[in-house]
Symmetry: C3
Subunit: 412 residues, 3 copies
Amino acid sequence: MYNLINDLYQKQRNLVSIDYDESLEYISKILPLKIHKIPSGTKCWTWEVPLAWEVKEAFIENNGGKIIDVKDHPLHLASYSTPIDKIISKEELMKHLSSNKERPNAIPFDYKYYQNDWGFCVQFNKLKDFTEKNYHVVINSEFKEGELKIGELFVKGELKETIVLVAHLCHPAMANDDLSGVSVLVDIGKNLLEKNNLKYSYRILFLPETIGSIAYLSQNEELISDMKFGLFLEMLGNDNFHSLQFSRQKNTEIDKIAENVIKHNQKEFKTGDFREIISNDEMVFNGPGVNIPMISISRWPYPEYHTSDDNISIIKKENLEESKKLVLKILEALENNYTPIRKFKGPPHLSKYGLWVDWRDDLELNKMLEKIFLEFEGDNSIVEIAEKLNLDFFVLLDYVNKFLQAKLVEKK
Amino acid sequence: MYNLINDLYQKQRNLVSIDYDESLEYISKILPLKIHKIPSGTKCWTWEVPLAWEVKEAFIENNGGKIIDVKDHPLHLASYSTPIDKIISKEELMKHLSSNKERPNAIPFDYKYYQNDWGFCVQFNKLKDFTEKNYHVVINSEFKEGELKIGELFVKGELKETIVLVAHLCHPAMANDDLSGVSVLVDIGKNLLEKNNLKYSYRILFLPETIGSIAYLSQNEELISDMKFGLFLEMLGNDNFHSLQFSRQKNTEIDKIAENVIKHNQKEFKTGDFREIISNDEMVFNGPGVNIPMISISRWPYPEYHTSDDNISIIKKENLEESKKLVLKILEALENNYTPIRKFKGPPHLSKYGLWVDWRDDLELNKMLEKIFLEFEGDNSIVEIAEKLNLDFFVLLDYVNKFLQAKLVEKK
Amino acid sequence: MYNLINDLYQKQRNLVSIDYDESLEYISKILPLKIHKIPSGTKCWTWEVPLAWEVKEAFIENNGGKIIDVKDHPLHLASYSTPIDKIISKEELMKHLSSNKERPNAIPFDYKYYQNDWGFCVQFNKLKDFTEKNYHVVINSEFKEGELKIGELFVKGELKETIVLVAHLCHPAMANDDLSGVSVLVDIGKNLLEKNNLKYSYRILFLPETIGSIAYLSQNEELISDMKFGLFLEMLGNDNFHSLQFSRQKNTEIDKIAENVIKHNQKEFKTGDFREIISNDEMVFNGPGVNIPMISISRWPYPEYHTSDDNISIIKKENLEESKKLVLKILEALENNYTPIRKFKGPPHLSKYGLWVDWRDDLELNKMLEKIFLEFEGDNSIVEIAEKLNLDFFVLLDYVNKFLQAKLVEKK
């Protein structure tokens, strides 16, 4: 995972661009991706696919020479800036400069998608060097017909019902946002490919944010009805505990499973409602007319967000590893969750079936024995029982599986 | 509005009485009222229409002459007092005297409806003048066949569904309770008559409290099913902020609209549950077997309530004007409320349709854009979305109307 | 009631045993019980009826002679202990001794049902006398085919719907747990037999805990569908206020009635959720696949619980009497509860029908008059209206019955 980030983080990925295509090509060598190509101008619901954008050169110069040059750092130029070659006043220039007072030595990330405008991004501390009255601004950028590309890995399971796993790949020259999510998702893809007894099918997508999801879904509407749940991954390499953002529905199976797994496996974490922690493609997948419950897992917030400080130095291998394990555990719980239905009447004679758990072996479970066997009425799945009784999903699963083996319950 | 109160407040209006009829006649000259006449003794559900009550004279005298005389103030005699001409002891007399210690110089309002009893109302400070042992009590009152009268203005709209607006007119010799509500309702009637694009039909009623509503509805049961909502008006001229009393159902469209309008248009106000602020005809309209959600708007409480101090001096023109505007705004919102249904898929491309609202133009709206377009699933009307997101009804209405014009939503 | 306890409390009742049978025989002389006999080994859902257990002798001796002998107190031997005749080390013996540090001079109650093990119960203060290295342990107990017995009194009412009243009878040599519940239930049985206008039918059961209920229900499954509610009685002679344990459903008619009656008739009481106060046969009746809402009434807790101190000395006649009255009052409310449906329209003219209640006669009721007549829409029974308005069930019943007599409401 770390290598992928290290190899790709300096590329100037943009919605439709050469560096984006090269990054997707790189992933294709690890996973057998199907690449969807959707031409510029294609109508996608209320949107359309933008033109490709390429930059040959972009700089600001004054009498002393170039003071800002995109060759020094891709983030110096706001994505999708329109071309210009003009001498303008300082006052006019300042309207087009972004900087970040909170991190004065970092170049912020900015973009002009759909705005027909241009901009440069500058370290806040460099603003004081703009002492002259006029500046020569050159942006040699080109907008042309291109193809928006989406990388898809489909892993077939027993059911047609699909879990969609998404990471976006369109953020230029940064590491944690968005390559850390991409790298973890690549490993999860490898892991799923190795399994041969999956219950659900899985659709893993690498795409440009928002327009990528809209383009994919609008061109593949027939897939939506089989999409049961979604999971968005991003910002997983930095040093912070995990944040779980619930789906718009909030109380679905994947919400409950993710919360149970994170609660029983992580010392610290936080949870938040839809769009209250981070904003990404869940607004498309879980949005109007689609509405697939999609949770997000990240390590938001982190101070280097959307600046040139978001580089390989803030990525820790063990964080990526821990996040991967967490997501795999959530998927494992999702695969194994079921609704037990009682086949016995009366309180079952636990000791006779080896179902008695002594408090000396597991105090928490011991206290719950009676409450557990009252929950086999077909109203609640394992995760819902676990939630009600505040038990670890996997501890409860193991115990209920014993009822299943004793034929005291069956799966609904 | 002020003139109506000034012209009528000294009349001795009672359930069925000459002064009541004259007051209704006065209103008839302003609005084209239909007058319903229901004879004494008519069965009205579990009630019946009372006899007319007229007083020729009523006084209490001792050796020094008359000490209380209804000629001095109509409130001196409790409404519907039975006739008497008798010398009685002070002890006996005291059982029939009402006074108000809190307002010692005011004559309180009292009534003996359905009680077959008599009473006088006296300033508390005057009680000390009752120093003699015996008193001559004379009430020359007459109970006779009459007609309970109800004034009705019907304004036809596009729909058969009717909004009922009610004020009672039976309180003798007071100004704020009940003529201020009557005067505001007269002006609202004029306003509605001028409109030619009303969605709802309106039924405006002036009647004696409780028995008037029971008589009207019991004799016109076929109208009930078209009555969608009701609004009761009273005590609107005094100096206090508005009180909104919710309907019995509490969460209906008119409750939500009234609360939204009052919240976004009045600095101070209070709200309360059904019958927790004031008690009037909403117990009939919103009561057993009828149950039309009826809210009440008043400026309750005020210290002069039900005394001779409730006269023209406590009525302020600007209060009446403000109350009228508030009620008209509630009706306007009711007329314009609708349920938007989404016709787009995915998050709409707001800027493309001119639906983007910059935070510099409207910060409150800007923060809610995303939450607004998630609410077009047909579950919530404009007022319900406004309530959820804590927005002004009319601000939200204007914004959602732009989606309507762009054909991104349609009306349910 | 007191006599029954006094006569029976020293018997060594066990699940299937001679003393149990004799105790049931004793009750049979008071109530016309039907005795169900279910042979050892009978399959009862996931359980089976145990063998009868009889003890001829049981003691522990050392060189100085017998130091513990079941002849001194039946509780010295754990119920259903297996036979033994062996010299064992002190260390080994100690694993088989129960004592209670909290009540050092009392013999605790212990049992080895379904465990194939043996044990003695000793006063904590006596443990210090076990100074030798080896002990001769003799238990001359016998397990043999027998019959589990259940005493049933069925009192037929107008309806097939049955109220099940249960007390267990299998606790050896104690008074409050479980004979106090048995004694109160016997008196309730006598009381019900005297009535000739019962709405519900009643099924009163005396049985061994858990296995008795399982045996009864599994062998009489066809009765379950008519069982509407259940009530379990136990620990009613000690000095403590009453505890009401709700059914698993918690919000059923019997839960609400019991709570109303206890609240308006007892100065002190507590309530608790299912299985949070005491654990008895409600887990069978209100358990998986049966699920008859069963409340429990007791005076839990008390310090002598499950020890030899739970004897006749802690039983007070007035407590038994008070508990009996409380239960009878609950049953009376249950018999009389109904759902009133309005036949009037509009607010009823209360005074005309003698339904006006002056605040000087009953302030609490006076304040509620209007709220009461709004509740006759058929959604709420008397107890539910009483709960909403915080009124005594019987006060409200009397008042609503006046509406019934005036034909203003009818029963649903």
